[in-house]
């Protein structure tokens, strides 16, 4: 297919849509958590207010790498979101929505943020980055084994994976690969940095980790980046395990349910130590992932 400027604009639209969607849903989730704790909770658009407030403040900068890292982070994440299909028929770049792009282009954004945080010269930031990378090493391997199973069955294009699940006679991979679904969701919790695995933010412990030196527009841009990252990760789960979506409303519904479930689980949990995160992921999720891959690939039992 030929790529025109229109594809880029659609991609940018998807990234913007993802930002708006995730920011609203995050605000709603703050409300839900508030109600869970018998509070009134903030307004649903509170997250927007926070972000725009940060953009309006006068920030401090620790040198060019501090700024450049933030730009690279936001740029990388916007680029990743541009490849994301919203439904099985609507995406920006056709069949180029290869799964590996999401994992590895996301890493560019992460690298940018890590670089910028370390460039601030604050030791908490470096410790936070160290923890984030270690957590990544933990959750990514079981997740990739499940992804291997899915790609082996349905190919590596996200649209293709959605269409495979939507085809008559096939189930969602959450049902077809039940163990894989569990592993996928636990890994998603790790990716989102939700609470048992929230080791790298840990405000009371390492003063919010990588974010320690940010204020004003840099922090605002990192918030935008964070929202789009969450959009990418939750959408990946929806497309990979929940059969994707045939229209935008089903997508929003599935998205909302997945994110809210992760958030609710997060709110009744404490925090792991960083080595506990690693040993946790290399115990049950990895074993479940291997068992699932073995069942699905070698025995061919896919419901």
């Amino acid at each position: 297919m030929s790529i025109t400027i229109l594809n880029f604009l659609i991609g940018l639209g998807i990234a913007f849509f993802g930002f708006v969607l995730q920011t609203s849903i995050a605000g709603l989730n703050r409300k839900i958590v508030g109600r869970l704790q018998k509070r009134v909770g903030p307004r649903w658009y509170q997250e927007f207010l926070d972000i725009f407030k940060l953009l309006s403040k006068r920030a401090t900068s620790h040198g060019w790498i501090f700024d450049f890292g933030v730009i690279m982070a936001l740029g990388g994440i916007i680029a990743t979101a541009m490849f994301m299909p919203l439904t099985s028929t609507f995406n920006a770049f056709g069949t180029y929505d290869n799964f590996f792009i999401f994992v590895y282009l996301l890493a560019v954004g992460m690298l940018g943020m890590a670089m910028s945080a370390s460039g601030s010269g604050n030791p908490w930031a470096s410790i936070g980055v160290m923890r984030a990378l270690t957590t990544m090493l933990a959750y990514e391997v079981p997740f990739m084994i499940i992804i291997l199973t899915i790609i082996k069955i349905a190919g590596s294009s996200l649209t293709g994976i959605q269409l495979y699940q939507q085809a008559a006679g096939n189930n969602w991979f959450l049902i077809a690969l039940p163990l894989g679904g569990i592993v996928g969701f636990i890994s998603l919790m790790g990716m989102l940095g939700k609470k048992p695995f929230e080791t790298y933010i840990a405000p009371a412990e390492i003063a919010s980790g990588p974010m320690v030196e940010y204020g004003g527009k840099q922090l605002g841009m990192l918030f935008i980046m964070h929202e789009i990252t969450v959009f990418i990760e939750v959408s990946l789960f929806v497309h990979l395990f929940l059969g994707g979506a045939t229209n935008i409303f089903i997508f929003i519904l599935k998205y909302f349910l997945v994110y809210t479930l992760a958030n609710l689980i997060s709110n009744v949990n404490g925090r792991f130590k960083i080595d506990q995160v690693v040993t946790f992921f290399y115990k049950w999720p990895l074993i479940l992932a291997i068992v699932q891959a073995f069942i699905a690939i070698y025995l061919g039992w896919v419901i």
Binding site: F8, L12, A15, L55, K57, R58, T60, G63, I65, D67, V70, I71, M72, L74, G75, G76, I78, A79, M82, F83, T95, Y96, N98, F100, I101, A107, V108, M110, L111, A114, M115, S118, G119, S120, G121, P123, W124, I127, V129, M130, L133, T134, L137, E140, V141, I145, L148, I151, K152, S156, G160, K217, G220, M221, I274, D275, V278, T279, A293, G300
Partner: protein, 613 residues
Amino acid sequence: MANIELLLLFLLASGIVSYFLTKWKSFVGSVFTIFSTMFVFASLAMYGFSGQLDTTVNVIPVLSFAQTNIGFYFAIIIVFVYLMVSFFHPYFVGEYKYKNSYNVMFLLSLAGVIGTFFADNFIQLFFAFEFIVWTSMLLIPMGKSKKAAVSYYGFSAAGSFAMLFGILVMRSVSGSFDIDLGLASLAGGQATLVFVMFLVAAFSKLGAFPFHIWLPEAHGNAPHPFSPVLSGALVKLGAFVAVFAILRIMPSTPLIDFANSNLPHIPLGQYAVVILGSLSIVFGTLMAIKEDDAKKLLAYSSMSHGGYILVAFGIMTSQAVAGGFYHILAHALASAGAFMAIAAVAKQTGTTKMSELGGMIHKMPITYIVYLVAIISMAGIPPMGGFISKWLIFQAVIDKGMIFVAIAVFFGSIGSFLYVFRPLAALFLGQELREYKVKVKEAPFLMLLPMLIITALNVYTGVIPSAILNFTNGMLVDLGLAPVSITMWDIVGTTGTLNPALIALVFGFGVVIAFIIFIVLKKSKKVTLMETYTAGNFVHDEQLLHYTKDFYAPLERLYIKYTTIMKEFYETLAVKVKEIGRFGKYLFMNKFIGTTILWIIAILLFLLVGEVL
């Protein structure tokens, strides 16, 4: 037309010239070395791509040469790394004790490289191979440690002699040293024997598990400008031997083959290679994560990447092999770039220990960019070359459904984020330490030039890989594999299509958008690095705010006690070998000369009897 024989003679002659020039003035001799290397590279590049190299032999009687696609691919990569590194010589060679022989050995080992990759028979390949080992062995001790060279030579010698044994077995079967003839004639048990022997050579050169002990020693302690050559170029000799062993010898081992068509259809021997490659990936990654010396860290990463190359060759599908070949190029460029950046830092500061460095980015921004691009490629992140090769390898691993190999491959890929970030955070970023605030400055232009060229190539290989993949497709056809299907922009894998240029373009687009957001907002206030959040404490010492020691301590704690197993094994082995040696010495070398003579006669008799039988 560039004649291989003339190039060899030219290198020998320029080696001699450079000896005297360096003796006179080390700068002049080194510049002469640059031009000699450049001449060799230019003549190879100009005629080689169209296959027009002249391989006739006119002067030296015994030799004979041939140009193959695979040999040329390796040769051009390695000569390129040599050329890039030679730009560092004017600034480094003067410091070494035997500076005049440094340039000579460098040029002679380059001659060995050309001899190896254009050899058309095995015995010549072996001698050229040994020639590289000997010359580089003399270069390594000019760095920090003489012991490193011993370790390097020990493992290389084990590999070389295993290869020699394999060559001689082949000769006994086919009756000649010819490469194609010899490889084609193997069958049955002899094929297995030669397969194993060649693999020992390949593994010990690649520094793959279980022959990895020499790699960090040699890479970490070699002279700074020679480490990029070792890691980017000479390690790839192992991959060259691995091509012979894995892809061209088919030992008569059973296929791993069951009724289920999803299972990997790979011969058992190749499967063992894949498993050992996976172990190299995991070991290399874990060791690199805990390493404090930046060069040793990169050395362990070379071990891990050697594992990727072995996995790729062992899987034997055309995608995997193409990925392996591409990885050789991508890793050569990434590793050379990273090592050269570290060398530039070491030139300014005199150390490569990350716990002693910090904040180099403020004085050496260009070196930082070079290192950044190199590690992005090394970690396999788009839009750099490493992504393409890793993507191809992942495709093959997934296609074969190898779960346990996949664990290693993905672990290595994510783990590489961890270890490549360590020098970035500890060495380049973080607080600018007081002792480096004054005297450190950016590397001179002559050193920046090759680093920038390598950076550009790292990006090029990641954005427009089709030209190189076309070349590797030619190599795949030589090996009897189907070419990977590529178009101008797309690479088509078994499970999906990749468009690297599009990824790069979208990434650039995203960065532009982010930059626009950044620039329209209010300008931020500049503060110094020391004005950071310290929970209200007044800290005036940079060292106290710089987090470098035991960077991944919580992770290291989980496996640190298992890291010395292989080293202890080899140490025990060394003790045993020494004991045997002492026993032999006791038998032969006691004070009665008669005993020695008696033993010699006894052995001669034994050999003669063996010959008669």
